[in-house]
Symmetry: D2
């Protein structure tokens, strides 16, 4: 399970990057996990959907009405921002794309839990993030993390 | 998304009932949601797995190591019993099989949220539960609820 | 810390009973814990307030605006019904007064966690609840539980 | 309610700063809120305790055994890092002291929720944080925020 984290609103370029990342995750045969809303989350879900993959949306609200149209598996938490921690914990690897304070909270928890994080145009200068500058490079990093031994325990790599 | 709720340990008969229910849910083309642990949860997941379906496990612990072997999509919450509310909210319909106090907490929240609940050998005399006595009857009730207009809003029925 | 659980709306008699229980808890020198909203919760908080005691309200919403006027210490969760589990876990002893499905979910989790529960006109026939029929009897039960050795681990009894 | 956020382990200097901040918060008549564990959280609680004030500890574990010795009001969540969001939401103003990734997650959520944040030797260069370099300056900032009109809605300022 690969998490994509980023803001709920974003410009077209960022949306397109998220979409490419989502598509690549699905093409790897992995499951996309995200917060299920708009912006980067929707871009990633759309990409996964286009590649015939699955997109888990861990939603902050009380029902699934907020889920973007490409979420295939809505998990309803009614926990607001506290659902960010669930996105992080449920992901074997995280890809942070751009993002605001919500994304930073997810990066922080991800680093605290020692999750591998790939960063694409996101919060800079965080020790522990593998920074990349294109969706293709992000996917390459994810792929290399997936095949690494330190990704043991992951169902994806088995 | 159809939730199956029940205790984490159970006798063989109950396990087999859960397995039949899980299998039937998958055969309907629905996604199984449960707490991801043993007992009734594992039985339902095994059934879904045998029918080639998907089994979401919303786990109470800090990682996915506790998930039973048939969970195809582990959601990690680290929230203990509070994850019960997420199982209920993420389900369009609930099937309660046998069960202890944890199950009763899920039934209570399900009734509070006006979720349809089918009960198989579970807590008795709760207004709002459709009681049945066999897995086949449980699946029939689920199927009839799925086709009813009051299940609107569900992605499953669309 | 003594938890009082019950519905967010109630008749005058039930409100008055909650108020007496809240007052008694404060007079024991204990801290009242509840869900912080109206009905039984408000009655208990009013009673605690009248006796100069403290009332912790563990609130379901995103800010403290929903807290009843007698909550002295609002804890804001934005977790909806999942906050019920926090009310239970934070209480050394629970007093259930009347109540609907939300209360039943709290009783269930309380029994699962082996918390002592005193029941006043609440869900009947639950093994593990000490049923009483007046606020005075409820307070007597709480007092006796507080002085018992099995309440070890509680800061209140030390 | 004033939140103090910081790491669960810290050096003596940081501990002492937290203690001074906690003491000052109590002397203002405010209630201290924190995560209830060691390090900065314990320092703040000790300070509040020494000034005769109250210290709410919103704990990550399943019971109150982890609370530091100066917590007067343990709130038990069993939610791990997700309890960070509750610390932030329950605070009218936050004081960040030093801190690691957990603290950064709290700062992020605080900024997202537009909570006033005072920072003492903490994560640098965050827009929206009022940076100070001594406990006395931190307390001055808190006091000035408390008396400001934008702190309306707070029970503390009424």
């Amino acid at each position: 399970m690969i998490g994509v984290i980023g803001a709920g609103t974003c410009d077209e370029t960022t949306y397109d990057q998220a979409r490419q990342v989502g598509r690549g995750i699905a093409e790897m045969g992995a499951t996309l996990v995200c917060g299920g809303l708009g912006g980067v989350m929707q871009g990633a879900c759309q990409g996964a959907h286009e590649a015939g993959g699955q997109a888990v949306g861990i939603l902050p609200g009380p029902d699934k009405s907020q889920a973007n149209a490409y979420v295939t598996l809505p998990v309803v938490t009614d926990m607001g921002h506290a659902r960010n921690i669930l996105v992080v914990r449920s992901s074997d690897i995280l890809v942070a794309i751009h993002g605001g304070y919500g994304t930073l909270s997810e990066i922080s928890i991800g680093l605290k839990l020692a999750k591998p994080i790939v960063g694409l145009n996101t919060w800079p200068d965080m020790e522990g993030i593998v920074y990349v500058s294109t969706p293709a490079a992000a996917l390459e990093s994810v792929q290399s993390l997936l095949t690494k031994a330190d990704c043991k325990g992951s169902r994806l790599s088995s």
